[in-house]
Amino acid sequence: MDLDKLRETAAEVAGRDDVKYLIGWKKGSYGYRIAPAFVEDVEAAAELIFSPLCTANLATYLTLVEKLPLPRGQEPDDRKVALMVKGCDSRAVAQLLAEKGIHRDEVIVIGCPCPGMVDPDLLAEKYPETEEPAELKWSDDGFVIVRDGEETAVPRDELLAEKCRLCRYPNPVVSDIMLDDPVETWEPAEDEGVTEIEEKEVDGRWAYWQEQFSNCIRCYSCRNVCPLCYCQDCILDRLNPTWVNRSVNFSENTAFNIARAFHLAGRCIECGECERVCPANIPLGKLNRKLAREIRDKYGFEPGLEPEGEPFQASYKPDDPEDFIL
């Protein structure tokens, strides 16, 4: 993608009077890190980037802003938020629109067709991070790592993130401005991670998740990063009634994680952020992707494609599968 065009467009949008700020990506403080950038003025747009490191789904910031009580007489800030989105991120926007989590006139969606992101963990493991911020670029057949002026070409398959291997919508499904021509979509890979677990015996599956969930520290980063977990008052935080106890142990962690995944049934757009941010490296995406797969296969439904689509959890079809019913 042409970064100059990106910055130019961003500067133009961020400079508009009816725009509060533009959210994009910028280089992080070290290594391969990328930080969300909140661009309020034209100058700040110069630090924006779009690279194979921009895994973060910024759509979560649309609903994260706290609405503080306004002093009497003060009008709320109704200016728009501009948001840079990849294909997966745009599905979050579409789903938010469908759920009225945001309104169409509150956002300006800037679409970034996405050739695929790298897996940051894999990258750091194979090409250790250094203190200086590094750059990554796309090449025709993969990625190029630029560190200390030196370029290393890496084949796409070596570093492509799992969520991107599985991706079916690399191009934004909703946008106001497109920064580039659509990328050519690729054949999504088989979701081996999910299949592998499906193929285990029931006890094996339980043991697998028991190990995973035991590591959960309930930091709630999976929930907080999720663009579709935007209840101001999450039921899993609530004490009256208590769905999940505050104590951290396998039982509560399991209940928490099942409930979280279930609340995203028919809503998860598979951006993989929950899994990326988990400090305990729990493969949370598998839970979501399993449900998404079932919903796609059995119910013929995919969330986050139509800004005016009907919500899966609030609809039914008379011929929904019922082979599980006694």
């Binding site: 999910v194 677990i197 499906e198 285990k200 029931v202 006890d203 094996g204 599956r205 339980w206 043991a207 697998y208 998740w209 028991q210 769905w243 106890n245 104590s247 142990n249 396998f250 039982s251 509560e252 399991t254 209940a255 099942i258 409930a259 995944a261 279930f262 049934a265 028919g266 839970l287 399993k290 449900l291 079932e294 919903i295 059995k298 119910y299 959890q313 609809s315 039914y316 079809k317 008379p318 929904d320 599968p321 019922e322 599980f324 019913i325 006694l326």
Partner: protein, 143 residues
């Protein structure tokens, strides 16, 4: 699993069909195992799928949700919503390694006292085979 293990089952029944069906089983003096404890709700549409998770966590070895046959819902469509929600939950639980024999859903109408008996027997038998679900008990850790 001890030989005399009796599974503890929590069942959610809709007021109009299944609860009435269970009443009919009683009126007809149909005999069935006593392991199933019924919680009455107005409609299966009321059953939050997380109740199932909660019941398993709180000490149930099996959970049953039963309502009106499709098209017969007293509230027109509640059971359709329940079917979709609980169908998804069943998939998720299985994937998480919860024995599928621990959770069942059934349609039992107000006139199906005998079917109610069959459903209870099947649920109890399945939960018995699956064994006590100690692995998920809320109180297993650090009490």
């Amino acid at each position: 699993m001890s030989a005399n293990y009796e599974p503890n089952i929590v069942a959610f029944l809709c007021n109009w069909c299944s609860y009435a069906g269970a009443d009919l089983a009683g009126t007809s003096r149909v005999q069935y195992p006593s392991n199933v404890q019924i919680i009455r709700v107005m409609c299966t549409g009321r059953v939050n799928p997380l109740y199932v998770v909660n019941a398993l966590q709180q000490g149930a070895d099996g959970v049953l949700v039963s309502g009106c046959h499709p098209g017969d819902c007293h509230y027109m469509e509640g059971n359709y919503f329940a079917r979709r929600r609980l169908g998804m939950l069943k998939d998720l639980l299985e994937f998480a390694g919860v024995d599928p024999r621990r959770f069942h859903m059934s349609w039992v109408s107000a006139s199906e006292g005998h079917k109610w008996k069959e459903v209870v027997e099947k649920t109890v038998e399945d939960a018995r085979e699956a064994g006590p679900f100690e692995g998920f008990r809320r109180r297993q850790i650090d009490w």
